[in-house]
Point group: C3
Chain length 124, copies 3
């Protein structure tokens, strides 16, 4: 953790763009949280045209959802999504109307990384 999932229509992110987004998510997340970069995972999933919809109409809806340890301040998480947004919009080349960026909190006691249950924030 964090574990980020990017879901886009096929063709939205090239191999180079995925590598760029992965590096940027890693940089932005660790800058905001102070977490070591080695904890950051990013997985890119795609769907074929005709499988994404916004406002009931087929289109290149894209989302970046990050699962992170619960306990971070709301202000930090707001800042984090605001830093991720322009990077993700520019990398995908999509408009603001097609993108959702969100963070989901996971209680540390019910997540494992590197073979260990995550410690509470401030206890690692």
């Amino acid at each position: 953790m964090p574990m980020y999932f990017s879901v886009t229509q096929e063709g939205t992110l090239s191999t180079e763009a995925r590598a760029h987004v992965a590096r940027e998510v890693t940089r932005i997340h660790t800058t905001a949280t102070g977490a070591p970069t080695k904890w950051v995972h990013v997985i890119f999933q795609t769907y074929p045209p005709g499988s994404g919809f916004s406002d009931g109409v087929a289109g290149p809806a894209a989302t970046l959802i990050g699962y992170l340890r619960s306990g971070r301040a709301a202000e930090l998480k707001s800042k984090l999504v605001q830093d991720l947004w322009p990077m993700y919009r520019d990398a995908t080349g999509l408009t603001d109307a097609d993108i959702v960026v969100a963070l989901q909190d996971v209680p540390p006691s019910q997540a494992m990384e590197m073979g260990f249950v995550l410690p509470e924030l401030g206890q690692d």
Copy 2:
């Protein structure tokens, strides 16, 4: 937001069925919540046969999970999943035993849409 993900076995939902489900999710969600249709995104993902399991046995497990702003009344969300269920079951042609429908709350302060951090409910 909301952002809905449908995950089904390949072949479960045709192109026409996906468009139908997307329109119905949009209609049902906005009817229940009063949200504008333009905020509703739906993405369909599939997996090949042999990659879905219920009760430990391979089969066409299907799920519809929606991420929405936290703060909605429990009764509204219960009504929403109950309205989504028969539509999704009929569209997929699956039995009740193969389907899961669930909603996940996301604090507005840690989600962005249309370029902006989401306002708290009642403050848009």
Copy 3:
């Protein structure tokens, strides 16, 4: 519910390995929680090489995320992820550095299974 999603790089889990993991997730979850096996769903998703990243570098990042009814004791959920971890690591053949296992709570009132809104824990 529970609904588990495994996401791995293509080629990580063979057909046999997916069936094994599905049976083991079903066994481990029901042993820990007392839930009937028929409620357990597992879906396996894959991504092509070059679409998974750890520490900003492309690699076979793998995750097992389970959505379950909220209300379980933290100790039970910690035990559950600890039981899932070695099984998933061994089945994928990956190292501890490539894997994330996590549980997400879903309030029963906003989830449906078998055609019914889930009862609160202790009320089924």
